[in-house]
Amino acid sequence: MSTAGIEIGLERETPAGLETEEMTLNMGPQHPSTHGVLRFVVKADGEVMRRAIPDIGYLHRSIEKISEKVGYHGFMPYTDRVDYVSAMQCNQGWAMACEKLASIEVPRRGEYCRVIACELGRIASHLISVGTTGMDIGAFTPFTHALRERERINNLLEELCGARLTFNYMRIGGCAWDIPPGFVKRASEFVEQFEPLIDEYNELISFNKIYVERLANVAIVPAEMAIAWNLVGPNLRGSGVKYDVRKDVPYSVYPELEFDVPVGTGERGTLGDSYDRYMVRMNEMKESCRILRQALGGIPEGPVIAKVPRTFKPPPGEVYVRVEASRGDMGWFVVSDGTAFPARTHIRTGSFSAMAIIEELSKGLMIADLVAVIASLDIVAPEVDR
């Protein structure tokens, strides 16, 4: 039997005397809870899934190929589209790769601006993630409340770079614009007001009995499995592995800033279940607030961008840089051949590996759990396909 080019052969154990037929369900790409255009071919036995096979490629935009045609500076706006939910970190990844290629030193104020923008972006992205987790489980209120706070972040970032979603804020060698007057005050105000709200979200939804029941002990990923399946970011930390690029492969000014890496503790179920992944995101927002407070307080004077020639021609060579994006370790592999265009770019994203593990996790879950698993792995379709 062939479904959209995927050959599926499934062995099935039949209980004695009871014969049921397997059902092939097509979930997506226009299903309401597939976060963009994901598609799953679900082999289900009634409500119980035997297997959910991810089918990717519906949002492929050849971003990597485009980089070979538009040059180093020109590619920056495209990086926004790699993961439009947290575009700042993608900006930073590309900028850092180019800076490493050409050995450019970013001014300290520029680095601070980047950190502030990235952490605001991380909070915004995690807010969407926890909000949609609630929505996929049927609670709509947390989603709107999360988006209400995200709106304030969007306003702040709009002040910073004029855009609310695809920022195009960073440049090779620094940032496009300095922080506007009064921004530090407004951003600090936001941080002070937002941090207690995290506890309120916890009271509203995280500790809700039904919510915990839906997430705890669902789709358990033990630490070894998480590493074997190459999970990154909050998904990996949810399994109890303390790995954060900001700490372990330090970049930018993160070594100067004090913050913890929250990991899953299995507080309501088993270590590495969906609830742990969810709570890691909740706790990470608190840590981002901590980072923001320090970065906003300690922002130095000076230029925000280094002198970079208009025709950017890095020496031949190849680099691989990592940034801790909202969905984890984002790798940028860039090969330069000495011309104004990269010879090859490859982007390694967190959602891609998270997408792969779903097939393994889905065995034996209910159909309703599939959406919870997608949400708890925080899969964003554009990041899967690029």
């Binding site: 929505m135 209120t141 209400r148 309120e200 839906r214």
Partner: protein
């Protein structure tokens, strides 16, 4: 209603018409009036739900059509009527077309016995409660039919879920109803109301602990039967697209939603009848018209309060999973209701005329719980107010 028909016939209003045809005419007329009344209720409930839900979610909600958007439902209805009526090519056409009307019928028939006032009831059947339990089961047939006829696997899953859920939850709901019937000795809705008084401590909710437990179980089961959050699995948007109604569009889809919102009111009305004293009002006037209006208003206010509670729950709770839904029903609710029923029987043997002190104690407890609840809300509101500005632009 029969008296009304008789009096109309006697006064010669229907001169020259055979008696049976006269009855039929009167019945048809009242059915038409009731149908419109139900449409109004369902429509206003839909508007109310959207507004309440929006406020809970810090949104605005529909506020454009009419004052505060109160006739938004009319605009939506007109829009839906004018939409193309799509029947999927592979669908089972007759079943697909019949399903919404069947669901509608099941819900419409319940209104026949809902007592809006002392004399304001279409038919005070002596098996009223049983009748409601029976006819609401027709809704399941409609939804299951819709799920099957759509020839869509998501719809089928929704239909099966609905059938499993509603049939399961009929049991705790039915036994909770029996607990009430035990104390009234009658299945008639009017008798149940007359067994209670206008004062809160005369309500069955506070009569004794067993009835109080039964009331909560009934409400939870009724939410499940009405496909309301946290039990809205048959049309779980994030899981099954739109469940059994996935393939429906236009008027047919609207009818299903009408059933859903109308059912919400039926839940409130049933609960009001059985536990909140129905239309009972304090004896302040002898004027029958004013009395009728007051009774109607009381009944309406009480049932809409419960509708509001259901909306509140919808805005607060996530959805349970299928297995959890069944676990809740069969492992918890059914044993608890049975134990509760036995407890109620013992209570009835011990105190056949009720225990006044218990009534007041239960009422005081209820008041205390309510005060504590609202003090918690006030506490959270005060805590949140400095941070939550209405204007998100800081």
């Amino acid at each position: 209603m029969q008296q009304l028909a008789d009096s109309l016939l006697q006064t010669g209003f229907l001169q020259g018409v055979p008696t049976e045809a006269g009855y039929a005419l009167v019945i048809a007329f009242f059915a038409f009036v009731l149908l419109n009344f139900i449409m109004l209720i369902a429509g206003v409930t839909s508007w109310l739900e959207r507004r309440v839900w929006a406020r809970i979610q810090s949104r605005v909600g529909p506020n454009r059509v009419g004052p505060q958007g109160v006739i938004q439902w009319l605009a939506d209805g007109i829009k839906n009527i004018m939409k193309e009526d799509i029947v999927p090519a592979e669908a089972d056409r007759p079943l697909f077309k019949a399903a919404p009307y069947l669901a509608m019928m099941g819900f419409f028939a319940t209104f026949a016995v809902i007592p809006f006032g002392d004399g304001l009831v279409v038919a005070d059947l002596n098996v009223g409660v049983l009748y409601i339990t029976a006819v609401t089961a027709l809704v399941v047939v409609g939804i299951l039919m819709a799920g099957w006829a759509s020839n869509n696997k998501w719809a089928l899953l929704g239909g099966i879920r609905s059938a499993a859920q509603i049939i399961s939850y009929e049991i705790p709901a039915g036994i909770a109803v029996i607990t009430v019937v035990l104390f009234t000795g009658s299945l008639s809705m009017q008798t149940i109301i007359r067994a209670q008084g206008w004062a809160p401590w005369d309500w069955f909710l506070f009569a004794n602990p067993f009835l109080c437990i039964a009331s909560f179980i009934f409400f939870v089961s009724a939410l499940a039967e009405g496909n309301r959050t946290p039990f809205d699995l048959p049309e779980a948007e994030s899981e099954l697209v739109a469940g059994a109604f996935t393939e429906y569009s236009g008027l047919r889809n609207l009818l299903f939603f009408l059933v859903e919102w109308g059912n919400l009111y039926v839940i409130g009305a049933l609960y009001t009848t059985m536990f909140l004293g129905g239309w009972q009002i304090p004896p302040i006037t002898e004027q029958p018209v004013i009395q009728g209006v007051l009774q109607f208003a009381t009944f309406f206010a009480k049932s809409y309060f419960l509708v509001f509670v259901a909306m509140w729950i919808r805005g607060t709770l996530p959805r349970v999973r299928v297995d959890q839904l069944m676990t809740l029903c069969w492992k918890y609710l059914v044993p608890i209701t049975f134990a509760n029923l036995i407890g109620a029987m013992i209570w009835f043997v011990l105190f056949p005329n009720g225990l006044a002190i218990m009534r007041f104690a239960m009422f005081a407890l209820g008041v205390a719980v309510t005060i504590y609840f609202f003090s918690r809300i006030l506490f959270h509101l005060r805590r949140a107010r400095p941070r939550l500005r209405l204007n998100p632009i800081s």
